[in-house]
Amino acid sequence: MEGGGPEAHSVCMVSDFFYPNMGGVESHVYQLSQCLIERGHKVLVVTHAYGHRKGVRYLTNGLKVYYLPLKVMYNQSTATTLFHSLPLLRYIFVRERVTIVHAHSSFSAMAHDALFHAKTMGLRTVFTDHSLFGFADVSSVLTNKLLTVSLCDTNHIICVSYTSKENTVLRAALDPRIVSVIPNAVDPTDFTPDPSRRDDSTITIVVVSRLVYRKGIDLLSGIIPELCQKYPEIHFIVGGEGPKRIILEEVRERYQLHDRVRLLGGLEHQDVRNVLVQGHIFLNTSLTEAFCMAIVEAASCGLQVVSTRVGGIPEVLPENLIILCEPSVKSLCDGLEKAISQLRSGTLPSPETVHNEVKTFYTWRNVAERTEKVYDRVADEVVLPMKERLDRLMTHCGPVTGCIFAFFAVLNFLLLAFLRWMTPDSIIDVAIDATGPKGAWTKQCLFGKKRRVKEELPNS
């Protein structure tokens, strides 16, 4: 990498979670990639095969996605043996001339594997952590140990909120200076208010989340009867699916609220806005949350947000846009009553004003700009040579784990040497760049050919 001036990076995003799967990490990877392509970098995404979707695909603007044929083990995460993915990933890293490997999500085994291999191959590594984790039980003790191993020699780490940074620094025993905080973003044009869709003769409270324990659905099952008995004009709309749906149905049955509580079931991402704009108040009952995109989306649609004060949520919205409560039925009911009285007295700002304020907060362009700075910084750093890497592993990860993983690192290195002997880097075909400074796709766009989403297997 030549120093000075803006340089184009060749970034490989690795995560088990990508489209067609839906969720926060998936859209983060996609949007960030798009904005980085726009800024002139070469970006490709590596994930595992989803059903029939395997091989190489191109998405909008020539974002190249490798769907690797690896076995999915649990919750869309692949199994890890630390070694089996090296041949495939090495092939991709070499033929795409990747300079930076950017792994996403601590739940993704493939992301950790890719970090491990990239370090063996001497590539720069960046990791984004999207979730919070506790310290109290056995499973978290073990996963935190693995995270320590995985991150101790990673060049830079990105967290989505300050709370998440504190959490990651503690979990992986890191130097806080190599951890940057870059929040998630929301596309404000997707979440615009539309007050005409509201029914102003009632007060509608919207909840959009997966119906699982961690999202505090048990609290919701207490709030619904409390408020419905007190305020006859309140209606609830609940979007999302999950194992806790049954208790909401029970509550609805028990208190005869079929006309006032609507359970919409699973929502597609593009339908979320249409649900949000029907409401006056957005309720989030999460018990733990690193960033919480849902409340930003709701605020962007002009709703008054009522949320629990957990994880990174207090950092996300300014005080005038959110009412923070303790995670208990009573506190959340108090918060909702406060929002209701403000709504009735008309002291709430109009949805347009709220939208205009929120849309300046989080944009993907800003995220990409800040991520680019991290890449620039990482490109100037040196990758630890083998000896220092082994030292770091052994001194940093404890005597037992450190030695075991140092041994694995050596094995991985030997495997890499064997692969290099079998198929030398020089005989691996170099892929034609779709994106980046010499990107075939970008040029096509420049020469005025129509943009299209092409899905085909390349024959390079």
């Binding site: 909120s161 504190e166 951890v179 505090g216 099952s221 957990v310 919205l317 907060f361």
Partner: protein, 296 residues
């Protein structure tokens, strides 16, 4: 990125994400980790209190020891079933009187159980056990004695593991614990010479594994001093009994009891000092209310 760690003068860093702040993204403020809390739920134990609580474990170990010893004597023909039945009956009656006397009848009044009901269940239980004792006797004839011994040992161990010592843990299950003990007693009783032996053995198991812990629990709650005395006496009795069978066993058992009541509490208190539990805003919130009332 070069001026990474220098705070910009005149501007305080805020822990918010919605505002662009003139600090680099990897800036570490002094307030970093200020919400970290350590050992929030850690409890400081007093040595004496822990030793007192360990009495429950000692008692249960001794109960198992006494039970096995009784079986041993019966098996060897040194204890007649009539003698054991008489002794057990007398001690049960004593315990029954004591059970009500300790708290002045408050517990009985609260449960609303009559003496007639007690007598009825005793009679029903005794009659059924007596009636079925010939079956118990021949039940395991086709199974080898070694298997029976192994099974009894395993069941008694299970009884000790699942017993309700007063800890609030998921593993505790007094029903399972009692069932395992009774199963062990049935196994052992089937190896005794006659049906009467089997009947007496099973009733004795009921007394020592079901009734005796109930009395102990009440004693512990009402008269702690008395409880300590009873525990020590019981342990000494068990040791003396064991010494008549095997002196090595008695020494080993005595050291086990000492380790549990003196050494283990000491270790617990020492290890407690090393506790390093971290809590912070990233912890998953706990729902403290009882939410089931909304569904009732």
């Amino acid at each position: 990125m070069t001026c990474a760690q220098q705070p910009v003068p005149g501007r305080r860093w805020q822990k918010v994400l919605y505002e662009r702040q003139p600090f680099p993204d990897n800036y570490v403020d002094q307030r970093f980790l200020e919400e970290l809390r350590k050992n929030v739920h850690a409890r400081q134990y007093r040595y004496q209190a822990v030793v007192f609580q360990s009495g429950a474990v000692v008692q249960q170990l001794c109960s198992v020891c006494v039970f096995v010893l009784t079986w041993w004597y019966m098996d060897a023909g040194m204890l007649s079933p009539q003698g054991l039945f008489g002794a057990a009956l007398v001690s049960s009656l004593l315990g029954y009187v004591l059970f009500d006397a300790v708290d002045g009848g408050a517990g009985r009044w609260a449960s609303g159980r009559t003496r007639w009901a007690d007598l009825k269940s005793t009679l029903v239980f005794a009659a059924f056990t007596y009636g079925f004792s010939p079956v118990l006797k021949t039940l395991t004839e086709s199974i080898s004695t070694d298997t029976i011994y192994a099974m009894s040992a395993l069941m008694l161990l299970g009884h000790l593991i699942f017993f309700d010592y007063g800890a609030n843990a998921a593993i505790v299950s007094s029903t399972l614990s009692l069932n395992m003990a009774i199963f062990a007693s049935v196994c052992l009783a089937s190896r005794l010479p006659r049906a009467l032996h089997a009947f007496v053995m099973v009733t004795f198991a009921m007394q020592i594994f079901a009734l005796w812990p109930m009395l102990q629990k009440k004693l512990k709650a009402q008269t702690p001093r008395c409880y300590v005395g009873v525990t020590v006496l019981f342990a000494l009795a068990a040791l003396a009994g064991l010494a008549t069978v095997s002196s090595v066993g008695a020494v080993l058992f005595a050291s086990l009891l000492l380790a549990i009541s003196c050494l283990c509490p000491y270790c617990l208190i020492r290890l407690q000092l090393l506790k390093d539990n971290i809590h912070g805003p990233w912890d998953e919130a706990e729902i403290k209310e009882d939410l089931s009332r909304f569904l009732m």
